[in-house]
C-alpha cells in the first residue's frame, strides 16, 4: 500500500479559479440589478422593521405599560434581545480577528460577511437599551459622561455604564476593522466600474487605494494590530454584558461563571447565525466555490464544541447551586428547570445541548439542510437561554407575595420581529453594494499564487 507522505496544502478555493474569476464572481452582484429573490427578502425584512418601528412609536406615545413588564419583572424581552444580538456579533470578530491571529486561512472566505454581521448585530443590539428607557431622546445623553447642565456625572462603578463603553468601543473598532479590510476590494470594484456614478462612489469609498507595496506593508501591520486589539475586546464585551447580571445580588445571576459562559454562548449563537446567513448567501450569489462545504463543516464543529461548553456551564451552575449550600441559589435553579418557566428551560437545553450533538456525524456536518435546521434551533435555543436567565431569576424574588408571571405582549414580540427585519435589511444591502468576500485576501491563499500559467488568462489591456 502506498502512503502519501507529501504534505498537500488544503485547497480552500475550489474549481481552479483565477484571480480575475474572483473579481468577476464576487463583484458582479454589486453591478447588476438585484434578483427577484433579493427583492423578496428585502421587502420582507423592511416590512418587519416597519412593523417594529410602528409598535415602538406607539410605545413611545403610550409608555412602557404596553409591554409585558410588571413587578418584579422589570427586565424582559428587550434585555433578552440586547444580549442575544450582542452575542450574535461575537462570531464575526472571532472569525475575523481570532482566527486571523491563529493563521486559520479558511477564515478568509467568510470573514467579510461575518464582520458585516457583527456590525449589523451590534447596531440591532444598541436599539434595545436605548428604547427600553421609553424616552430615548433623553436617554442617549444620560449615558455619556460629558460636562452637563445637570451638574452630575454618570456612575462609573456601574456595569450598565461599562456596557456603554464596551459596546461603543466594540462597534467602533469592528467598523474600522471591517472598513480597512474592505479598502483594497472597494478599489477592485472601482477599477471594474463602467458606470460613472458607480466609479465615483467606489473611488471615494476606496480612498484612492492603488495597491502600492509601501502601502501594503503598513496595511498589513495595521490589520494585524486591529486583529490583536479586537481579540481581547470581543472577550471583554460579553464579559461586561454578563456583569450586568453577575454584579447584581440576585440568585441565578450572581455567579462568577458568567463571563466565560456568556462568551462561549455568544460564539455558539454567532456561528449558528453565520451558518444560517452563509447557507443562504452562497446559494443566492453562486459562491459555492469560495464558501465551500469544508468551511461550513468547520463552523459546525465550532458550533458543537461551543455548544458543549454551554452545556457544561448549565451543569456547573446546578452543581454550584447545590454545593454552595445556599437555599436561595438552590431554589432559583430548581425553579428554573421545574418551575413555571420549565418549558423555556427545556427548550433552551434541548436546542443548545442535545440538537448540536448530531454534528458528531460527518454526514450531518456536511449536509446543508441539516446544518440549516440545527443552526435555526441553536438561534432559538440561545434566545431562550437569555430569556431563562433574565426572567426566571426575576419572576420569583425574595418576597413570595410579589411573585408574578411574565408574559411578553405582542408589542414585545413585534419589536423583536422588527429587530430581525432591521438586521436582515442591513445585511441584504451589504450583499448588494459591497464585496461579500475578501477578494484581496482570497488571492493570497489561492493555489494560483504559485501561478498555473496555462489557466492564468490575461485579458487585460
Amino acid at each position: 500500500m502506498q502512503v502519501n507522505t507529501v504534505y498537500q496544502p488544503e485547497i480552500l478555493i475550489q474549481n481552479n479559479k483565477t484571480f480575475s474569476d474572483v473579481n468577476n464572481e464576487v463583484s458582479v452582484h454589486t453591478e447588476r440589478f438585484p434578483t427577484f429573490k433579493w427583492w423578496f427578502c428585502f421587502l420582507a425584512a423592511t416590512s418587519a422593521f416597519l412593523l417594529g418601528a410602528t409598535l415602538a412609536s406607539i410605545m413611545f406615545r403610550d409608555g412602557l405599560g404596553v409591554l409585558g413588564l410588571n413587578q418584579p419583572n422589570g427586565w424582559g424581552v428587550f434585555i433578552v434581545n440586547f444580549v442575544f444580538w450582542i452575542g450574535i456579533g461575537h462570531a464575526g470578530t472571532l472569525i475575523s480577528a481570532i482566527l486571523f491571529l491563529f493563521r486559520q486561512k479558511w477564515r478568509t472566505a467568510i470573514n467579510r460577511s461575518a464582520e458585516a454581521m457583527t456590525i449589523f448585530a451590534v447596531m440591532t443590539a444598541l436599539i434595545f437599551p436605548v428604547i427600553h428607557t421609553g424616552r430615548p431622546w433623553y436617554a442617549i445623553f444620560w449615558l455619556i459622561p460629558y460636562p452637563n447642565q445637570r451638574g452630575l456625572w454618570v456612575n462609573f462603578r456601574s456595569p450598565l455604564l461599562w456596557d456603554v463603553f464596551a459596546v461603543g468601543t466594540y462597534f467602533t473598532i469592528s467598523l474600522i476593522f471591517w472598513y480597512i479590510g474592505m479598502i483594497p476590494d472597494l478599489a477592485s470594484i472601482r477599477d471594474r466600474a463602467k458606470n460613472g456614478i458607480r466609479k465615483f462612489i467606489y473611488t471615494v469609498l476606496s480612498l484612492g487605494w492603488r495597491g502600492s507595496n509601501k502601502h501594503w506593508s503598513h496595511y498589513e501591520i495595521a490589520y494585524m494590530i486591529l486583529a490583536g486589539l479586537s481579540t481581547p475586546l470581543v472577550l471583554s464585551v460579553h464579559s461586561v454584558v454578563s456583569f450586568d447580571f453577575a454584579v447584581a445580588n440576585l440568585p441565578g445571576w450572581h455567579t462568577t461563571i458568567f463571563p466565560p459562559y456568556f462568551v462561549a454562548g455568544a460564539i455558539f449563537s454567532g456561528f449558528a447565525m453565520v451558518v444560517t446567513l452563509l447557507v443562504i448567501a452562497r446559494e443566492m450569489f453562486n459562491l459555492q466555490s469560495y464558501i465551500t462545504i469544508n468551511h461550513l463543516e468547520k463552523m459546525n464543529k465550532i458550533i458543537m464544541a461551543t455548544g458543549m461548553m454551554v452545556g457544561y456551564a448549565y451543569a456547573c451552575e446546578f452543581f454550584i447551586a447545590w454545593y454552595s449550600g445556599n437555599p436561595f441559589e438552590a431554589y432559583a435553579f430548581v425553579n428554573r428547570a421545574f418551575g413555571p418557566y420549565w418549558w423555556a428551560y427545556w427548550t433552551m437545553a434541548s436546542c443548545n445541548v442535545l440538537i448540536p450533538q448530531i454534528f458528531w456525524f460527518k454526514k450531518a456536518r456536511t449536509s446543508i439542510p441539516v446544518m440549516f435546521v440545527v443552526a435555526l434551533f441553536v438561534n432559538i435555543g440561545m434566545w431562550f437561554e437569555r430569556f431563562v436567565i433574565t426572567v426566571t431569576s426575576l419572576h420569583r424574588d425574595f418576597v413570595p407575595s410579589s411573585w408574578a408571571y411574565y408574559v411578553p405582549t405582542w408589542y414585545d414580540w413585534g419589536i423583536t420581529l422588527g429587530s430581525f427585519g432591521w438586521f436582515l435589511m442591513w445585511f441584504l444591502l451589504f450583499c448588494r453594494f459591497l464585496p461579500v468576500i475578501a477578494m484581496a485576501e482570497i488571492k493570497a491563499i489561492m493555489p494560483t499564487e504559485t501561478p498555473h500559467k496555462e489557466v492564468h488568462t490575461n485579458d487585460s489591456k
Binding site: I173, R210, H215, S217, Y219, T450, N458
Partner: protein, 188 residues
C-alpha cells in the same frame, strides 16, 4: 487610462507590468540592487517577500498604537478618578471614592478604542490616504496583474527615460509604459 502623448501632464515615471508575483519580486530586487531609489511595486494583494525585495523597513505603526493605547488607559483612569473622587465625590454603596477596580473595565475599553483609532489614523497618514492626486494607472492591478514603477526625477533627460524603459524590459516586464501624473478626474 493614461494618454501617452499628453504634453501638458507631468511625467511621473515608467511602469513595467508583470503577470505573476515571483517575476515582480525578482525584478524589484534587481531594481534596488541596480541603484534606483524611487520605485514602488503595485499588487492586487499583499505579496510576501516583496517588502524584503524592495528593502522596506518595518512599519512604525505599532509604536503609535502603543503610545495612544497607553494614553487611553491613563486618561480613562484620570477622568474616572476626577469625576468620582474630586469633582463630585459621591458615596456609592459604601465604596471608596477612588474605587479603582471598578474603573478597570472602562480603562481597558478606552485603551482599545484609542489604540484602534490611532492605528487607523497612522495608517492613513503613512499611506497618504485618502489619495486624491494619484489615479490608478492600470485597471488590472486591483485584479490580477503586478506592476513596478520607477519614478523619473528629471524630465529633461530623455536619456534617463529611455534607459529606465530598457532596464524594466531587461528585468522581465511584459509591458512598459510611461505614467503621467493624473488625478481621479473629479474634485472633492
Amino acid at each position: 487610462m493614461i494618454q501617452n502623448n499628453s504634453n501638458h501632464k507631468k511625467l511621473s515615471g515608467v511602469v513595467g507590468i508583470f503577470d505573476e508575483p515571483h517575476a515582480l519580486i525578482m525584478a524589484t530586487k534587481k531594481t534596488r540592487e541596480f541603484g534606483f531609489k524611487y520605485f514602488d511595486a503595485f499588487t492586487p494583494y499583499p505579496v510576501h517577500g516583496l517588502e524584503v525585495a524592495a528593502g522596506l523597513k518595518r512599519s512604525p505603526i505599532p509604536y503609535v498604537t502603543f503610545v495612544f493605547g497607553l494614553a487611553g488607559c491613563v486618561l480613562a483612569f484620570l477622568y474616572q478618578y476626577w469625576t468620582s473622587a474630586i469633582d463630585w465625590a459621591l458615596n456609592v454603596g459604601g465604596k471608596p471614592y477612588n474605587s479603582w477596580p471598578a474603573f478597570v473595565p472602562i480603562m481597558f475599553e478606552v485603551t482599545i478604542l484609542l489604540g484602534g483609532l490611532s492605528t487607523v489614523a497612522a495608517l492613513f497618514i503613512f499611506c497618504g490616504l485618502p489619495n486624491l492626486k494619484k489615479k490608478a494607472f492600470d485597471l488590472s492591478i486591483t485584479r490580477d496583474r503586478f506592476a513596478l514603477m520607477i519614478e523619473i526625477q528629471n524630465l529633461d533627460e530623455k536619456d534617463n527615460l529611455k534607459k529606465t524603459k530598457e532596464f524594466l524590459q531587461s528585468v522581465g516586464a511584459k509591458e512598459v509604459r510611461e505614467v503621467y501624473e493624473e488625478g481621479w478626474g473629479f474634485s472633492l
